[in-house]
């Protein structure tokens, strides 16, 4: 148990089932495990946005759900709403709305956001009632657990958990280093 420590790695690599933005083929894949009701995740949003701008075509960004419902009672249903929006091609717009409004994530709020996005809000409402996307959210959560995610946000850079500072420069340096190693 003593001796050198190696960070955990992603047990399920990013694939076509994941929500991602950025180049499919690039040197760096950055995975976030996040929770729409987690204030730390919301606080990271501008930093991650800037990170994506800086990294440009070097980095693909993947988002996976890790709702901690004992602390965040609306986190799971919000994640399901993002999935339901995703089924209509609006995962990322919904993702952004949820983080920007994380104090209002009750079911009626979520349906309102779907309407505001101009997608089929009734379909989203039905999916929330049926918990149609609960298995997808659970699958993300379990992949996170098995990969050493213990809270949110947790990041993986090219499959290795990032244990450094959560500041833009520190994260950007880690991404640059991963890009160099991959080239």
């Amino acid at each position: 148990m003593s001796g050198s420590y190696t960070p955990p790695t992603l047990t399920i690599p990013p694939g076509p089932d994941d929500w991602s933005v950025g180049p499919e083929v690039g040197p760096v894949t950055f995975v976030e495990y996040g929770d729409f009701e987690c204030p730390h995740c919301a606080a990271m949003e501008p930093i991650l946005h800037e990170l994506r701008l800086r990294a440009g075509s070097e980095m693909r960004f993947v988002y996976r759900h890790f709702p901690l419902t004992s602390s965040h009672p609306h986190a799971a249903i919000a994640a399901e709403a993002a999935e339901a929006a995703g089924a209509q091609g609006a995962f990322w717009p919904m993702h952004d709305i949820l983080f920007a409004n994380q104090q209002a994530l009750a079911e009626r709020d979520l349906i309102g956001y779907a309407a505001a996005l101009g997608i089929d809000a009734d379909a989203v409402a039905a999916a929330l009632v049926d918990h149609a996307y609960e298995p997808n959210v659970r699958e993300d959560f379990m992949s996170g657990v098995r990969s050493g995610v213990s809270g949110t946000p947790t990041f993986f850079i090219n499959g290795v958990r990032y244990d450094g500072d959560y500041e833009l420069d520190a994260i950007a340096r880690a991404v640059q280093k991963a890009a160099r190693l991959a080239h």
Partner: protein, 166 residues
């Protein structure tokens, strides 16, 4: 850094203990024979909300139930403190108060930090016969998550449909 001893090793019988879980209830490890036990040492109640491995363990209770495993959190905080903490965080498993004599159980498991006066972040998986089958200690400031515990329970359950995810 204070790192006086190694955690009690796999293969050894888990040291028995009797600790309070609430101000008027206690639990003994030996009472839990017959089922696996997951013992999760953590430094203190009231660590930051969103980076809390206990919340992850709480969410995994259905997974642990598949193995018949009982999960116990343990820290040097008192039972009243645990009560308030578990209530505030919605934790649905027992938190043991390793409070008097302070940290004695953590010492017996080799995970007490003299410099901080708390236990380390360390988990043990104990089989139904009371033998430690797995342990993990994390560096200060690093949360280990629950993946290792799950894998240890799966290994213990052997080939009994442990591979299927819920």
């Amino acid at each position: 850094m204070s790192d006086p001893q190694d955690p009690f090793p796999p293969g050894a019988a888990a040291p028995d203990f009797t600790l309070r879980t609430t101000p008027d209830q206690s639990i003994s490890l030996s009472e839990l024979r017959g089922n696996p036990v997951v013992l999760v040492f953590y430094p203190a109640d009231w660590s930051p909300v969103c980076n809390d491995e206990l919340a992850v363990f709480n969410q995994l209770l259905p997974e642990f139930a598949r193995f018949g495993a009982q999960i116990l959190g343990i820290s040097v905080d008192g039972a009243w403190c645990h009560n308030a903490f578990a209530d505030a965080r919605g934790l649905q498993f027992s938190l043991l108060a390793d409070f008097e004599p302070k940290g004695e159980v953590a010492r017996r498991y080799g995970v007490y930090r003299d410099t901080d006066g708390t236990s380390e972040r360390s988990s043990f998986v104990i089989d139904p016969e009371g033998i430690i089958t797995w342990n993990e200690r994390s560096p200060v400031g690093i949360n280990p998550g629950a993946g290792g515990v799950l894998r240890a329970l799966e290994a213990m359950a052997g080939d009994q449909e442990a591979e299927t995810e819920g």
